[in-house]
């Protein structure tokens, strides 16, 4: 496994460079916004990556809570299958928003269930806690990028740095929720920090639909310019977007892997240090 890392690193660097070239040179220039629109390739891909990482955090947290006993574990696995099935069924039996292919929705459903069981098989219960922490941390990094590139894009296009539009505002709230998750992890002095953090992650995930709905409805009442524009995307731009998404997904994977190894090593060291001080104190004369 460890040998694969440098190879993957070089491959990722190549893909990232290629994606950058595509974004800056190959992609067509947008009509109304001009060159600035190219920020879109980094802004949107960072957002998608952050969302996926936060979703992984949710799955890992659920598994940490549920795998403590086999009963809840089986219920959780059942729910994961059910959710996938419902999404796949919804793709074909319910009207889908325009511009979205039913096959894409169905694939997403299958991927959700697949991701759940992939994590279940590859990570022990204790390791899901590490995964949860890592995905939240890297997710916050990508989310920060979304919040930084958004205003940089908004300023030349709309003349203002921030518009409280639907997407930026929801991303800000998401960022706040997961930063509070990281703060809890940092400040918790309990030995059961993983349990508390997992609980908070569940609350955060439950909050997400409310965040999106409330801000969406608020915006329909009080419309504002939308950063990132609506409407359909030129297929050539979509192509470049997907290349950048692939590149950043690989990059995110490598960062998470490094952070994961670092965290596990840190926990081992802390345990060894605790053992060391324990044996020391039992050895020293009273």
């Amino acid at each position: 496994m460890k040998k694969a890392f440098p190879i993957l690193g070089i491959l990722t660097a190549i893909v990232l460079s290629y994606a950058l070239y595509q974004a800056l040179v190959v992609a067509p220039t947008e009509q109304t916004m001009g060159e600035v629109q190219r920020i879109f390739y980094y802004h949107v891909t960072s957002a998608w990556t952050a969302f996926i990482l936060f979703f992984i955090n949710f799955i890992a947290s659920v598994q940490y809570l549920c795998r403590s006993n086999s009963g809840t574990d089986r219920i959780a696995s059942g729910v994961a299958i059910a959710v996938g099935a419902i999404v796949v069924a919804a793709a074909f039996f319910t009207p889908v928003p325009s511009g979205v292919r039913p096959s894409a929705v169905a694939t997403t459903g299958l991927l959700i269930t697949g991701l759940y069981f992939l994590i279940h098989s590859r990570f022990s219960r204790a390791d899901t806690d590490v995964l949860a922490m890592v995905s939240a941390e890297v997710g916050v990094v990508f989310c920060t990028i979304v919040l930084v590139t958004g205003p940089i894009w908004a300023r030349p296009v709309w003349g203002i740095w921030w518009t409280w539009d639907m997407r930026l505002t929801s991303t800000l709230v998401l960022w706040l929720i997961y930063v509070s998750y990281l703060v809890l992890r940092r400040f918790s002095s309990s030995g059961e920090t993983p349990l508390l953090a997992a609980t908070l992650a569940i609350f955060g995930a439950l909050c997400v639909p409310f965040v999106y709905f409330s801000i969406w409805f608020f915006r329909t009442q009080h419309p504002q310019p939308v950063i990132g524009g609506g409407g359909s995307i030129d297929p050539r731009m979509m192509h470049v977007l997907l290349i950048n998404w692939l590149a950043f997904s690989c990059f995110a994977f490598l960062i998470c892997w490094s952070r994961y190894r670092l965290e596990k090593l840190q926990r081992e060291v802390e345990q060894a240090q605790a053992m060391e001080s324990l044996t020391q104190s039992s050895r020293s004369p009273r």
Partner: protein, 224 residues
């Protein structure tokens, strides 16, 4: 009466009785709420036209700050007397304790609201154009949204460094959709517009998070 409701009722009545006898917390909280309203009135000129339009937001932010102070001492008595350890080893369901605390906080914050709202109405010369009974529903749903999560996060903050700052730090982000709902509903009722969607949002938020708190409180209580 079944055991869980009996425990809830007993704990709640005990808390209320203790608060009533000591009156320390109540009196200082009431005075704090009054101060908050006055400070806001100085900061946001009540005579300006804009202030009347944001009065809904001002009321709820003021209530939020007062609620944080109240929520922070939710578990103080239990910690002092090692009640939580006793609760952990007893067969009593953790939910009952949580519910008692949450309802107690709800009553407490409602008392504060009952003081602050008339003051706001007077200072800002508010005349609701919409139905006032809807305001009561919004007040109840909104207060419960803050209190149910606040009581839960107060328990989570017990085993953290900087316990007092941890509670608002955890509570505020999660409460943002509910806050938006409360403020928009209140503002809409004051200006005579429809608030039904926001009330529905608050109701579903309350249902989802009350369920989550009831299911997960046992886990938090037993966390070391």
């Amino acid at each position: 009466m079944s055991a869980p409701t009996g425990i809830t009722r007993a704990t709640l009545l005990k808390d209320l009785r203790l608060e009533w006898r000591s009156k320390d917390a109540i009196n200082s909280m009431l005075f704090f709420s009054l101060l908050v309203v006055v400070v806001f009135s100085f900061s946001f000129d009540p005579n300006a036209e804009e202030s009347r339009r944001i009065a809904g937001g001002l009321i709820w932010v003021a209530i939020l700050f007062a609620a944080i102070v109240a929520l922070n001492q939710t578990w103080a008595r239990e910690i002092r007397n090692q009640v939580l350890d006793a609760y952990r080893v007893s067969p009593a369901p953790a939910n009952s304790l949580f519910l008692a605390k949450a309802i107690g906080n709800f009553i407490f914050v409602s008392v504060l609201e009952a003081l602050m709202t008339p003051l706001f109405v007077v200072f800002y010369q508010l005349r609701p154009l919409g139905p006032v009974w809807q305001l009561l529903i919004v007040a109840a749903l909104g207060t419960w949204a803050l209190v149910v999560n606040g009581t839960f996060f107060a328990a989570m903050s017990l085993r953290t460094r900087s316990r007092e700052i941890m509670l608002p730090l955890l509570l505020f982000p999660i409460s943002i959709p509910a806050l938006l709902g409360m403020v928009q509903a209140t503002t809409n009722i004051l200006t005579g517009e429809g608030a039904r969607v926001w009330i529905a949002l608050l109701l579903s938020y309350d249902l989802v998070f009350t369920t989550a708190c009831l299911i997960l409180f046992e886990t938090v209580l037993n966390a070391e």
